[in-house]
């Protein structure tokens, strides 16, 4: 299995490298080549998932390969004064260390699925330098796969930053009118944040080095080490947490750091939007869960209420702003802000139900929003507009497209028996459990407000999506002129093929979510265990006491 994972990771990069050669054979060959490679990647990923479900490894990781890339061995001079390191211990240790665990598994698997959709959606839409376009897409996919498989900090960061570049070019070259502005803003905004993240990660490594004496970048080793030797002055831990927060929260994006997202989405080509919403945003939540929560449990517990507030504001704010949109793509972009708020809410509820639900919700959002962007792209391809008011009654003109649109709308608003519901339910149950635990009959505290307000987001979510459907697909037929005045056609087989895998997944997760939860739950539990303990150890004093507690901790 380890070899399988390596092949999966290498394939997109190799394919991208070969792209200049393939490009000589013409555009058709480029498309076919990309499709072929993606299908192979997808097959490999599916067999990895099957293997994971059959073996059901614990929290140790699955299909792990661990090769020293840049490491030296201490022989005489231990760098720590108390002599914690002995001879033979690797003191400088960057490794090529990859593997899968329950947290990353489904996000990893989502990338090739969305890649398939992206290719099929771009098939005719991209006529400008397709070789470059598909090359960039392959690199983007490779980066996304790498992020979720990396078990070494440096490797993670390399992939983390690497995903920015292809998307920057995808938006900047193949985007809409404001593409340069959007690409620059997207790039600078996320880069600025992730530089802080890098500093934070380095600080974690150095602290570990100082305490344990091994300069390791291995994520499992760091997690274990920091559990044993938590970063001591609370202020330092908080500072590192905030540094990590800067990068991850921008990536999520958490309110109020979200403004790059609608712009990037609206300007990006369809494939870019699909990847951005489907996979890239999840890197933020993934980062929180992989680094911030297990490695900085005290700071996590202390900041959780604030983060929960930001999440719930994001949920409501995103939904409200989505309600005011006239541009269909921007509407869905703001709905992403709202949905990611749910992911963050469940994550920082910091209990088994909430955090597992959050990971499931990340996958769900990838599926439903990815599909919605694909559908919007198909509409754009037909009418060359994104104005909601330009359309009406399209259900008659485009019955198959409408059918898929309804399906993914329902999936997006969390309709039962589709994927969105299971995740949302678990997130909300988790949040309620966090808010009401041990104080059922007591009056409302801030957490209870957060919990109740987050459910309001579910109502608003249904409002803007159903209103969108009503305006665009119902009522008397109204449509702008098609290209060249030819009446538009309904989806062809290629477009249906792009959507069917996502539809199948939507139903599958909705009807049998336990299959998907089974790997997620133990992994997430192991990661959140410490922070959860810290939070509950305080036993939730009232707000004034909490601030006193923070002050005490910081001294």
């Amino acid at each position: 299995m380890a070899r399988l994972l390596l092949q999966t990771l290498a394939l997109p990069f190799l394919a991208a490298l070969l792209m200049p050669i393939v490009a000589r054979l013409g555009d058709r060959a480029v498309r076919a080549w990309t499709l072929l490679v993606t299908l192979v990647t997808l097959t490999l990923t599916v067999s990895l998932c099957r293997g994971y479900l059959q073996e059901s490894p614990g929290t140790d990781g699955f299909a792990v390969s661990d090769v020293a890339w840049l490491s030296s061995h201490a022989t005489e001079m231990p760098l720590v004064a108390d002599g914690a390191t002995g001879p033979g211990t690797a003191i400088w240790d960057i490794r090529f260390h990859v593997g899968l665990d329950g947290l990353g598994l489904w996000l990893f698997a989502l990338a090739p699925v969305l890649m398939l959709t992206s290719i099929l959606v771009s098939w005719e839409a991209i006529q400008d330098r397709p070789a470059w376009f598909y090359g960039m897409l392959l690199l983007l996919q490779g980066g996304c796969l790498g992020v979720f498989a990396a078990r070494d900090l440096i490797l993670f960061y390399v992939f983390f930053e690497f995903t920015l570049l292809p998307l920057f070019f995808l938006i900047g070259i193949w985007g809409s009118e404001q593409r340069e502005y959007a690409a620059t803003k997207f790039f600078l905004y996320t880069l600025a944040g992730s530089l802080f993240t890098f500093l934070g990660l380095l600080a974690i490594v150095l602290w570990h080095y100082q305490q344990v004496g091994v300069l390791t970048f291995s994520i499992p080793a760091l997690t274990a080490g920091l559990t044993e030797h938590p970063i001591a002055p609370f202020g330092l831990q908080l500072a590192i947490f905030l540094a990590l927060f800067a990068g991850f929260a921008i990536k999520v994006p958490l309110f109020p750091l979200h403004t790059w997202l609608p712009l990037a989405h609206v300007q990006a080509p369809t494939a870019g939007s699909i990847f951005l919403a489907g996979v890239l945003l999840k890197i933020g939540t993934y980062g929180f869960l992989r680094f911030s929560v297990p490695m900085l449990p005290d700071a996590t517990a202390a900041c959780a209420p604030a983060l929960l507030w930001l999440s719930v504001i994001g949920i409501l704010y995103g939904a409200l702003v989505a309600l005011a949109q006239t541009d269909i793509k921007r509407l869905i972009a703001y709905s992403s802000v709202s949905h990611l708020g749910f992911c963050m809410l469940g994550l920082f509820a910091l209990n088994r139900i909430g955090s597992s639900g959050s990971v499931l919700q990340m996958v769900n959002h990838g599926i439903s929003t990815g599909a919605l962007f694909a559908l919007v792209g198909m509409l754009y391809e037909r009418y060359h507009t994104r104005e909601i008011s330009a359309w009406g009654g399209l259900a008659r003109r485009l019955p198959v497209l409408s059918c898929f649109m309804f399906l993914f709308t329902f999936s997006s608003i969390g309709l039962p028996l589709l994927n969105g519901f299971a995740g949302e339910l678990l997130v909300l149950v988790g949040m309620f459990q966090r808010a009401w635990q041990g104080q059922l009959a007591e009056p409302f505290t801030q957490l209870k407000w957060i919990a109740v307000l987050s459910v309001v987001g579910v109502v608003l979510g249904a409002w803007y999506m159903l209103w969108l459907v009503q305006r665009v697909f119902f009522g008397p037929l109204r449509e702008p002129h098609g290209i060249h005045g030819v009446p538009v056609r309904d989806l062809n087989w290629r477009e249906i093929a792009a959507l069917v895998p996502l539809a199948v997944l939507a139903f599958w997760i909705g009807i049998y979510p336990q299959l998907f939860l089974r790997p997620i739950q133990p992994a997430v539990d192991a990661l959140t265990h410490e922070a959860q303990g810290r939070w509950e150890a305080v036993d939730r004093p009232p707000l004034a006491d909490r601030q006193a507690f923070l002050l005490r901790r910081s001294r």
Partner: protein, 775 residues
């Protein structure tokens, strides 16, 4: 004969057959079956109905035969684990809740949601009702939807709805209940908006979904609180966990939660029920839902889906018994809604809307019964649910038959005197009206009487005046019900025959495939009530439901439901007859409504376009109307009947109608009543109760002003803030390096003296700071 098929198989088949019908129709409908697309649905539903009946009979055989009360019997079939998170919740000892079973070693509780099906008498009752009516409606739809371009789509949705509905009443878990609760909601959304090109239909579908979502907001909160309080979300006990409505709780081993939390849970559940069952203040979606095809209105928005709230409250009755204040709220919401909807129905001109408000009103009746939180109340409520399903479906299908003949015209001002054109529809509609009005001995009489008796008993048992008021409200509603039902009936089928031009050559009786279901439903509407009531079968049967058995046990009752009260029965009958009489006076023969209203209000307030004179002007009576409203006329009201021309009033009767013989007597009573009623109406002409009723008490407008408008405004303000403030801040920060650079560049101008000065200042600063810090 049924032994070969196990309960398990039947339980799975009942929802599976409609589901496969839906899938088959969706796959083969558009291209292959086309005009025959109804076959998978009709066959699937019929088979499901047969399975339900078999299940009910089989289950009857499994009940304990000694007939002792207080024995709950249930069986649960678990299909698969939907979600399971082990050791998810450790109730803290500080909570001190007796409601959660202590597990071994006090291990945390698992969050486990199974897809499990249950059978008990409550479920069996609902299953029989749902599948029977849906089969009849599906058959009817074959005729009604004939030639519609979305023929296959209609049947696919219909099947899908029946799947969701049968699952809703069968599942044994609150989360799964919620799942199919939303499932029927989405089917309703799809079917209301079935004719999506009509903007009104599209808007009505969205409105129904959103108003239901508001209710579901409460339901979801109830669910979360229940998880926190009971540590489980399943109805039944599992091996490790005691269910919310499980046997261990009924055995008294664990308690139900009362107090603030218990009341909150119940009220939130009621909020969910208010949404689905269209109770005040969430009733606004149901009348709009009439934009859907009429068979849908009959099945979903009258007989089945809207009763889901009643089913849910009945299922959760033990929780309400533990929280009496919540039960009291249920009763008041029910009675208030019943009265309000009855008042609105008085003045509607759309036949389907009259029936829709009538449904809201009757559902209010059921909630009133449930709010008694007594065994008699719950069985009465469920009994009314059962009988109401038949006669209301009948009325809607009858209205559909009228629409079919009238070329989709449904405004009662535009047609009239249809009894000769549509004899079967007329006869069956009459049975439905009599049942709805609660006239002896049809079904409605028995179930309505059971509800009134339950309220009456509770008023006597507690001596609380509030229950007396509720009883009065229920009686008042009974009067209104009889009046508006027969108002619609007389306006549609009596008076001079008028047919709108849209009808074309369609103005004749519907085809056989449509009137046979009408006749079957009419038989049920007439017979179900008396047969079940005379044998007391329904109450006995329902008592074996675990939730209700516990109530029987607690009440110490020996299986006797609320006794039949002669006084209640006589009063309610008198009230109903009075309602019919008033309707007969105003609408049979001459339509006096307009004249009467003009007489009272002089139309000072009335919008000309809305004026009912539209339809009255077509009648020969218009001259008399004009006479009454002559300018400067100041008629006095009391003491005599306006525009009552005894010689002329029968001149326009076309032969002996259904009520020709007692008509004269009825009219005499009605005339007296009218004189009494007009006095307050005349006094209230400035607040115009007619206008209030006609405008549905402005609830929609109030919501628009108070909720929808502000939220839209907030949305736009947020968007502006997002662009200006949030994004502006980001751009400001992003531009900072550039500006800083520009500012620094200004300092680099090559003035050596300036450099020197800055050097000195810097050095001084360094020195000062070092002293300060004591470095």
């Amino acid at each position: 004969m049924f032994e070969a098929i196990s309960l398990r198989t039947l339980l799975i088949l009942i929802p599976a057959l409609p589901l496969s019908g839906a899938i088959l129709t969706a796959i083969f409908g558009p291209a292959i079956l086309r005009r025959q697309s109804h076959w998978p649905t009709v066959l699937g539903l019929a088979a499901s109905c047969i399975c339900s009946l078999m299940l009910a009979v089989k289950w009857q055989g499994q009940l304990p035969q000694d007939g002792k009360a207080g024995q709950g019997v249930e069986e649960v079939v678990t299909l698969w684990e939907w979600v399971g998170i082990p050791q998810a919740y450790a109730p803290s000892p500080a909570t001190g809740l007796a409601a959660i079973a202590a597990t071994e070693n006090h291990a945390p509780l698992d969050f486990r949601i199974d897809v499990s099906l249950r059978i008990d008498t409550l479920t069996a009752t609902m299953l029989v009702m749902v599948t029977l009516i849906s089969t009849l409606v599906a058959v009817y739809s074959v005729g009604y939807m004939h030639g519609d371009e979305g023929y296959w789509r209609f049947f696919s949705y219909l099947s899908l709805f029946v799947f969701s509905m049968t699952m809703l009443v069968t599942v044994s878990n609150f989360v799964m209940l919620y799942v199919f609760w939303e499932g029927v909601g989405v089917c309703s959304y799809l079917l209301i908006g079935f004719w999506y090109r009509n903007p009104a239909a599209a808007a009505a579908g969205k409105k129904a979904f959103l108003v239901n979502r508001v209710g579901d907001f409460g339901f979801a909160l109830a669910l979360f609180l229940m998880w926190m309080t009971y540590g489980s979300l399943s109805f039944h006990d599992t091996d490790t966990v005691a269910g919310v409505l499980g046997a261990r709780r009924f055995a008294g081993e664990l308690s139900f939660v009362g107090g603030g939390v218990g009341t909150a849970i119940c009220l939130l559940l009621m909020a969910g029920a208010c949404g689905k069952s269209a109770q005040f203040p969430l009733h606004v979606w149901l009348p709009d839902a009439m934009e859907g095809p009429t068979p849908v209105s009959a099945l979903i928005h009258a007989a089945t889906m809207v009763t889901a709230g009643v089913y849910m409250i009945a299922r959760c009755m033990p929780l309400f018994v533990a929280a009496p204040q919540a039960a009291w709220v249920v009763a008041w919401i029910g009675a208030g809604t019943a009265l309000m909807a009855g008042l609105i129905a008085l003045t509607q001109f759309d036949l389907k809307r009259v029936l829709a408000y009538s449904t809201v009103s009757q559902l209010g009746y059921m909630f009133l019964a449930l709010g008694m939180a007594t065994l008699g109340g719950v069985t009465a409520g469920m009994f009314h649910l059962f009988t109401h399903a038949f006669f209301k479906a009948l009325l809607f299908l009858g209205a559909g038959s009228v629409m079919h003949a009238m070329g989709n015209v449904i405004d009662m001002r535009r047609f009239g005197g249809l009894r000769h054109r549509l004899p079967i529809t007329h006869a069956t509609f009459a049975i439905g009206c009599l049942a709805l009005a609660g006239i002896f001995p049809l079904s409605g009489f028995w179930s309505k009487d059971a509800i009134l008796a339950a309220v009456h008993d509770q008023a006597h048992a507690t001596g609380a005046s509030s229950y007396r008021v509720l009883y009065g409200m229920a009686m008042g509603t009974a009067f209104l019900t009889a009046f508006y039902t027969f108002r619609a009936f007389f306006m549609t089928f009596y008076g001079p025959q008028r047919i709108p031009e849209e009808a074309g050559h369609h103005a004749h009786e519907s085809p056989k495939v449509m009137w046979i279901p009408l006749v079957v439903l009419a038989l049920f509407a007439a017979l179900v009530g008396p047969m079940l009531e005379w044998t007391h079968a329904f109450a006995h049967w329902l008592q074996y439901t675990p939730s209700l058995a516990m109530m029987a046990q607690a009440a110490g009752a020996t299986g006797a439901p609320a006794a039949f009260h002669w006084d209640v029965a006589v009063t309610s009958t008198a009230v109903a007859v009075a309602g019919v009489a008033l309707a007969a006076f105003l609408y049979l023969g001459h339509r006096r409504e307009v004249a009467a209203l003009q007489y009272v209000f002089r139309f000072g307030w009335m919008n000309p376009s809305e004026a009912p004179s539209d339809w009255e002007s077509a009648s020969p009576h218009a001259a008399a109307v004009a006479n009454v409203t002559r300018p400067g006329g100041h008629p006095t009201v009391t003491g005599h009947c306006p525009s009552d021309h005894p010689s002329g009033s029968h001149g326009h009767e076309h032969g002996p109608g259904l009520l020709a013989l007692p008509a004269r007597l009825l009219k005499a009573v009605g005339c007296g009543l009218w004189s009494l009623l007009t006095l307050p109406l005349w006094l209230g002409q400035f607040v115009s109760p007619y206008q209030m009723s006609h405008s549905k008490f402005f609830v929609d407008e109030i919501y628009d002003v108070l909720i929808v408008g502000p939220l839209r405004g907030l949305a736009h303000i947020s968007y502006v803030l997002d662009r200006v403030l949030v994004d502006g801040l980001v751009n400001g920060v992003g531009g900072l390096p550039v500006r800083l650079g520009g500012w620094l560049r200004k300092s680099q101008r090559g003035f050596v003296s300036l450099y020197g000065l800055l050097t000195v200042v810097g050095m001084v600063l360094v020195v000062v700071v070092s002293f300060w810090w004591g470095v």
